[in-house]
């Protein structure tokens, strides 16, 4: 419950304050969002599995976002930013799909 409220509060903050993203950070925003979604779905899945752990969740969120952004940054410097972004999205996408499938099985038993 607190989690949902916190998420809603975050969205509200983002909409109210209308922050402008520095131009240098803009390329990393989409990949950071995918990484954050992966952490959130992982957390929900863990909660439903009964193994949720705050420390694990926070660390996975922070490291996911930072590592994803770093990989894209590195790729940009090497000239393979697009391909590395695709790689990150594939890996995180597979995880999101798997976790959402597990959540679905938990919720609907199907």
């Amino acid at each position: 419950m607190i989690a949902v409220l916190a998420l809603v509060a975050g969205v509200a903050l983002g909409l109210v304050f209308e922050p402008t993203v520095p131009v240098g950070l803009q390329p990393y925003l989409p990949i950071a969002v995918v990484a954050a979604l992966d952490a959130v779905f992982g957390g929900i899945r863990a909660k439903l599995d009964g193994v949720f752990d705050d420390k694990q969740f926070v660390i996975s969120f922070v490291s996911n976002v930072l590592v994803a952004a770093f990989i894209v940054y590195l790729g940009d410097q090497l000239g393979v930013g697009g391909q590395l972004s695709t790689g990150v999205v594939v890996v995180l996408g597979v995880r999101i799909f798997g976790n959402v499938a597990a959540i679905r099985r938990h919720l609907f038993r199907a």
Binding site: I2, A3, A6, L7, V8, A9, G10, V11, A12, L13, G14, L15, E18, P19, V21, Q26, L29, P30, A32, V33, A36, A39, V40, G42, R45, A46, D49, G50, V51, F52, D53, D54, K55, Q56, F57, V58, I59, S60, F61, V62, V65, V91, V94, R95, I96, F97, G98, N99, A101, A102, R105
Partner: protein, 310 residues
């Protein structure tokens, strides 16, 4: 999904033995068990602590981790909202640039039309003043009018024909249903040959898309655009010509018309000729006085030109 639900690691699971184990194949493991192994490790540590009846974690610790979780989720929501706003804001940037260019073109066109109207009004004024200066409908005035009409510097009316050319429609890709590539286009040379054929068929005045052709008119291509006296014309191209009653027949017998019929059959370019009574062709917008050629026997060119040189 048919894979078994990943549950707590089995006693034989290598992760039980070595927590750094990542499996023989990272991707296989990813597909098999997408949940971060850290959660299982944490759960196992908790269970071990409970089993060994160690004291539960201090209250500040529990509250601290809860606060961290809340902060993380707020950050996630913030990130989502910011990314959404960013994506929404990026779209208008692109369309705005295009809309700005379109506006610029429109205003330039409006300005050109205004100037054209102004030029027409001034020309009327010049005609009236000429009439007044020459003292009514005299022989000289009639001669000036005839010459102006013949050279394309005056509006003329009469019966004639209209030749219409249109670009071929875009090819539709049968698989995707989308336009595969642009259809064949009318090019400047098509228009040139048609205009030449009309002149040779006896046309006395020709206008292309409402632009009167004079002795110095040009029809040329600039990239994909066709320019008539530096003004762009677009499909459908209408070539209106005033000439003898059998202009359509004589034009139809020309080789240019035969070529266009061939292009029409082969590439789908639209080509139509129709008779039209009471055509009115405007005066040319570019009545620049001659700069290099001098009329023979008249000394210097007449200073009473109707426009200023460009």
């Amino acid at each position: 999904m048919t894979n078994p639900r990943p549950t707590d690691p089995q006693p034989t699971d290598p992760r039980r033995i070595d927590p750094r184990w990542t499996g023989p194949d990272f991707l296989l493991q990813l597909f098999h068990d997408p949940l971060d192994p850290g959660y299982a490790d944490a759960a196992r540590r908790k269970a071990e602590r409970r089993a060994s009846s160690a004291p539960p974690p201090a209250a500040w610790r529990r509250h601290g981790t809860l606060a961290l979780r809340v902060v993380t989720l707020i950050a996630t929501g913030f990130l989502l909202a910011v990314a959404y706003r960013q994506a929404v804001a990026a779209e208008p940037d692109r369309t705005q640039a295009q809309a700005g260019l379109v506006d610029e073109v429109r205003s330039a066109q409006t300005r050109t039309d205004d100037l054209q109207r102004q030029a027409d009004a001034l020309r009327d004024q010049v005609n009236r003043l000429q009439e007044a200066a020459l003292g009514g409908q005299t022989q000289e005035l009639r001669q000036i009018r005839e010459l102006a009409a013949a050279t394309g510097l005056a509006k003329v009316t009469g019966d004639g024909i209209v030749v219409t050319l249109t670009d071929a429609p875009a090819q539709i890709d049968p698989k995707t249903g989308k336009p595969a590539d642009e259809g064949e286009r009318v090019i400047d040379r098509d228009l040139q040959s048609i205009v030449n054929a009309l002149w040779s068929a006896g046309a006395e005045a020709i206008a292309l898309d409402g632009q009167r052709l004079t002795a110095t008119s040009t029809i040329r291509a600039a990239g994909d655009a066709i320019l008539v006296d530096f003004r762009p014309v677009t499909s459908p191209y209408e070539v209106a010509a005033i000439g003898p009653d059998d202009l359509a027949r004589r034009f139809g017998a020309s080789s240019a018309a035969a070529d266009m019929r061939g292009l029409s059959g082969q590439y789908g370019i639209g080509f139509a000729v129709r008779n039209q009574a009471d055509l009115t062709l405007p005066a040319s917008a570019t009545d620049v006085p001659l700069q290099y050629a001098r009329p023979v026997g008249a000394g210097t060119p007449s200073p009473s030109t109707t426009t200023t040189p460009r």
